[in-house]
Symmetry: C2
Subunit: 355 residues, 2 copies
């Protein structure tokens, strides 16, 4: 959601406390609630507004409906030197993914690379959060997930069998912010369609088509159409392959088995994800590598621009700026969300957050 | 290249013998020449006409110019349980990649996953060839490469700093052909632009833009413009990240360092690639997994189609059909290529191939 002049701003620490309080109120152990709150607000700090505190009412609803396990036994089912399969036991996705990322980094620390597949996980917020975890250990992170609702048909089809399965990569630099690419395999995310609908605006051609293959630009008619994959059949192929790697290979849901977690609060989603950590030091001296990344970043940024283009950006640059800005000035929140959260607070009989 | 009614057809075995003969004539050891010939003709069998025997004159030219090492010491520079860095010593890409794929599979056999980075390699033909190698050991294959010429600027830029860096995935099925996705990060491959130029046809909008950001549809003006990445900035991000993983991380060329191997026959390209092998059995019983892939394939194929669409295809399906058809009926070749190869034969004083 784009910020408007009327948006209020809140300190991230206040929002973290609020989220933790809400999750504790519905039964999550305090330490877990704090962990989830930290990751959710980190999403807001980085500008992933659709994946942060915005999701709190939905998570609370799902927990109350019995759709998530509040005392999960998150554990490694099978493992090798460099690989593991983690069962999330239907716990909150943030907790399951954090556990899995640790396993991946430990494996990479010993074997050079750690590939960890997950089953029985849940929606965990923006892909970048997890791809970035290995950065703190001078590792490269890769994250792939089966999305939490199907919005795409196979190329040429009209049945919604594919999610916009995202992938994220995080690569550390030396003085520059890390390169963090976090993309869905569709041209536009479904959240952007919803925002257009809220605002009464039309969508540009290329976001969606209808069942006859015609461009669909009225977001009110979104249910009649489908998101378009990036590069046509290429994006379809990527969504499919990411779904097989993150879902099928791990015994997690894919295709028709995917639960639309926006419409169904109760059925366990059996969400599948993959996190890969790569220990840079096994291929290259770490500092030299990071300095090379700095050089690449500057080579791209300082190259000749198309007329009218103000700046050539690197993936993750904008999120990094947003993170700096929001860490200093607070996280903006629109009136609708603010009211939703106030209602939630009164509903859960918990304190709200400072305005 | 699309087949025309006038195309001649040749048995793959005859073409293999011819390619091996040509490579031996310019100094490649017989066993290596046969290996490269087998992989090049496999590209033709699978319909990758721009990456098979079509490349032979260029490879010969490069070898004669001293641009490739005919007696390379292809070796592992560094390794861990699950990871290796391979130095190709400027040998032919097919030989270097085949060596690296073996290393990746051996690592995966022991550690579950094998991640092998390459430096000082060369153009190796279609990405799918290498992603598919692990299939024979019931492994999933992933291949990433830095392309052999830059055809894309960073998003918003006009300097050609990025190649269309491809990625390929191969996932085995039980009764169905494997899922094989092999895509460049641009909407169209540069080869397709050249084909349009040869035929005097216009390109559709969306393939290229000019330095002012306007659609470029005249392929004769291709040098003034750039290939468009899939999904706009998303494809730019993928091309960048793939370049960093396959190039920079391995100490191989990336960005301004990339040699345009179509224009420069002499300078070593220091091509970078990555091959990953994943041992399925460490995450799932292999047969059950393959049967699940069959089910996914059928679910997609048999789902409702958009009107006018004859068949929903899975990635790799068309290449598989082409492989079956060409294995039985031979490989079609247009007159231009046929004449080029005849000229090459006389030039090298070797026998041609049966017509």
């Amino acid at each position: 959601m784009t910020q408007t002049p009327t948006d209020r701003r809140f300190q991230s620490s206040d929002l973290e406390v609020f989220v933790a309080r809400a999750l504790t109120a519905v039964g999550l152990p305090t330490a877990d609630a704090e962990q989830v709150a930290r990751l959710m607000i980190l999403a807001d700090l980085r500008g992933s507004d659709g994946h942060g505190i915005f999701r709190l009412p939905q998570y609370v609803r799902r927990i109350r409906a019995g759709g998530m396990n509040l005392r999960p036994n998150i554990h490694v089912v099978q493992e090798t030197e460099a690989m593991a399969l983690v069962d999330g036991d239907n716990g909150m996705g943030h907790l399951v993914m954090r556990f899995a990322a640790q396993v991946a980094m430990d494996k990479a620390g010993r074997a050079g690379v750690g590939w960890v597949g997950l089953r029985r996980s849940n929606h965990a917020g923006p892909a970048a959060l997890y791809a970035m975890m290995p950065l703190e250990r001078d590792m490269i992170g890769i994250y792939i997930a089966v999305g939490s609702a199907n919005h795409m048909p196979p190329w040429g089809g009209i049945e919604l069998l594919l999610s916009t399965n995202p992938i994220a990569f995080a690569i550390p630099a030396f003085q520059e912010p890390p390169i963090v690419l976090d993309i869905a395999t569709s041209v536009a995310a479904y959240g952007k369609v919803k925002t257009k609908a809220q605002r009464g605006e039309l969508m540009p051609e290329g976001w969606m088509i209808d069942a006859f293959g015609k461009p669909l630009t009225d977001p009110q008619r979104a249910e009649e159409g489908f998101l378009l994959p990036i590069g046509g059949y290429k994006g379809y192929g990527l969504a499919l392959v990411f779904g097989l790697l993150a879902g099928t290979l791990n015994g997690a849901a894919f295709g028709r088995d995917v639960i639309d977690f926006n419409k169904d609060d109760k059925t366990p989603t059996n969400t599948g994800q993959v996190i890969v950590a790569l220990d840079i030091s096994r291929l290259s001296p770490v500092e030299a590598f990071k300095r090379n990344i700095d050089e690449v970043i500057r080579e791209m940024r300082n190259s000749k621009r198309m007329s009218g283009v103000e700046r050539i950006r690197l993936p993750g640059e904008q999120s990094h700026s947003t993170w700096l800005e929001r860490s200093a000035k607070g996280i903006p929140m629109n009136e609708t969300l603010f009211k939703d959260l106030q209602r939630l607070a009164s509903d859960l009989s918990i304190e709200g957050f400072a305005t």
